[in-house]
Symmetry: D2
Subunit: 221 residues, 4 copies
């Protein structure tokens, strides 16, 4: 190999490394109030920032309180695609179920799936890799007596089925929370284990979600 080629090869290598260093993966967390709170100090996104290589990941929050799947659909252009992300982590579903009871405006099961698929399809068309998450909890009681347990299980299953159907990475927070509560909630309390108020994450919950997210995120190429 001539000096010329050696230098060229070295330069190429440096260039590639430089490019890698210059272009960390942009990951947008797209969701509801749980994600909106996730960017605050101590929030799950904030925690994740110090858990993944800073030069390889740029983590961005895009959560808005009260959002359901069709809210995500309506604002995905402006709030996510405009940021040109490499990866989008979609975490939604609590309000689709909960709002049935609290305002009569939850999301029909079949419409939940259709809008979820539409969101995924549009991200994929823009070459954005998509990570799915199941909704974690509305109440932490571990004996399936939280009011929305059945419905939340149902909508989580829709997301699991979609992930399987399309071979998409999944953070199964619903299952992770239920397993955790079976072991760590001996008094069968409805909050205070991983959530502060049955839905929103407390300190332990933010760390727990960050841990779950990290495992899957590092596997996304």
């Amino acid at each position: 190999m001539t000096t010329f080629f050696r230098l060229s090869f070295f330069g190429l290598l440096v260039g590639l490394l430089a490019m890698t260093a210059a272009k960390p993966k942009r990951v947008v967390f797209f969701g509801d109030s749980i994600t909106q709170a996730g960017i605050k100090p101590g929030g799950y996104i904030d925690r994740l920032k110090s858990m993944v290589p800073a030069d390889q990941y740029e983590l961005v929050g895009a959560g808005i309180g009260g959002n359901k799947i069709y809210d995500l659909f309506l604002r995905m252009d402006e709030d996510v695609l405009a940021k040109q992300p490499d990866v989008v982590v979609i975490w939604v579903g609590v309000n689709d179920v909960w709002h049935k009871a609290t305002s009569g405006t939850g999301t029909d099961p079949d419409k939940f799936v259709r809008f979820y698929e539409a969101v995924v399809k549009k991200f994929q068309a823009a070459n954005v890799r998509v990570v799915l998450c199941t909704p974690a909890a509305i109440g932490e009681k571990n004996d399936m007596t939280n009011q929305q347990d059945g419905d939340l299980n149902q909508y989580s299953q829709f997301i699991r089925d979609l992930a399987k159907r399309q071979n998409l990475p999944l953070v199964d927070l619903r299952k992770a929370f239920q397993d955790y509560n079976l072991k760590n909630n001996p008094e069968n309390k409805d909050r205070g284990i991983l959530t502060a108020d049955r839905v929103h994450l407390n300190e332990a919950g933010n760390q727990f979600v960050a841990d779950q997210m990290k495992t899957v995120l590092l596997q996304v190429k």
Copy 2:
């Protein structure tokens, strides 16, 4: 012992037996549309009639479609106490949960307990023995993904707690249905195992409920 006394004693015995034969236990089944259908040919009450000694039990239906616990409270004087029952089997709860979604007029958890206690108390004050039942099902899927599973579990637990607190006989239909579906619903269907339409009993369901009821009923003195 003289002949006179012997005959008197014999007469007394015959009289007592006659009275026993003449006064079977009157059992009123007090509930919603499931119980309303229970008196039809093939219904669970109709089936029970041929499963218990006819000279010892008089079975009466008092079910009205759509009833919740406070409907039972409002009509218990007229529809049950007026019939001077010995035993009342209370089977209610499906509509207390279901109507939250279908008309916005379900029953608050704490109010469900308070009215249930008020109904029991009033029966006991009239020397009527009370048998409690848990609501069986709104959907038969066996993996806790029926929309109302969490809430129905919660209200069933209220009834179990009340039965335990007051030492009352309980027909735990919720648990019986769930156990049955785990074994006999391999395709995880939402109806067609013990119900015709997710809620109301099919033929197998009527027989199953009659079996469960019989076991407890025969133990009530």
Copy 3:
């Protein structure tokens, strides 16, 4: 007339006056959060106290947040009859309608009437005079575009019909609020005229309700 009789007559008069002075009418205001707030300084009950003769009326609050008609039924013995009132002012209905949307546990129209009648009947059996009120508002827009306007009108009509049927005094707050807003809410705002938050009274609202209540209260013998 002899001195004896004159003195006797005078004594009787003094006695009667003394009794009157010693026994002002005890009026219990029985309702929800609006009435719970009514006893605070500036609340409608607090204002009424300085608007009626203090030696003739003793005004007592018995409001609990979130109460519907059947909550009143469940607690009327303990919270009202135990206080041996002469008059009870029943003001309820907002939650019976509102909770349909906010928790799925509103009150069925026919059950609203039945429990309302049961409450009235029980007060009358205890020789307590009853004053009825219609629920004022969930939203103050004056063009019938508040979400619950239709339902609130319907339940108000039930109360008007009951008042008419039983010839009971009525404070028609629904009508009074609607008339007031037609004149005094030119921008068609949903709050800020007589309410602070679409439902609970602001300063003007508390005075307005006190005025309406006073007129009817002074006519109750």
Copy 4:
């Protein structure tokens, strides 16, 4: 004018007429169960067919039971745009309001407007002229005591505002039905005037809607 030009002019005229005759306006009626029933014999679309010139209008139904505004959004490509209509008459809103009470899956007010605007925008981008309609009724009582009157008024107002904002033709069926019932429903019945069941059109209702639709349709160029 020479014979040549006379003949040319005549030919042009014939050609234009021929084109007109060959290409009637294709009008798609896009809505819910009311529109689904509208194509049946005696339905409002069926009636309209004999009320407008057959050579100028081709009327097509695209109604599906239970549809809300976002159902229309999800199926507009396949069910309407694929038919290459000249005009689309959008009539939706009853289920957006009604489903709040009957399944907890009504449409949020702000989301109703956003999806409605999205539907209109997409039709306009495809050069389809759009006609808007307000939802007629859930109950025909004329004193604003139908449960959903307030909410239906609110959503109707959203549609009126949108029509005004974008200068779009509007068939204000809500107003027309209310005016009609004030005059023709002296017993204040909740059905049987223009509807069979509070929502779906009876014979008079289908004719009434056809009349209202015709007036606006003939004005659309």
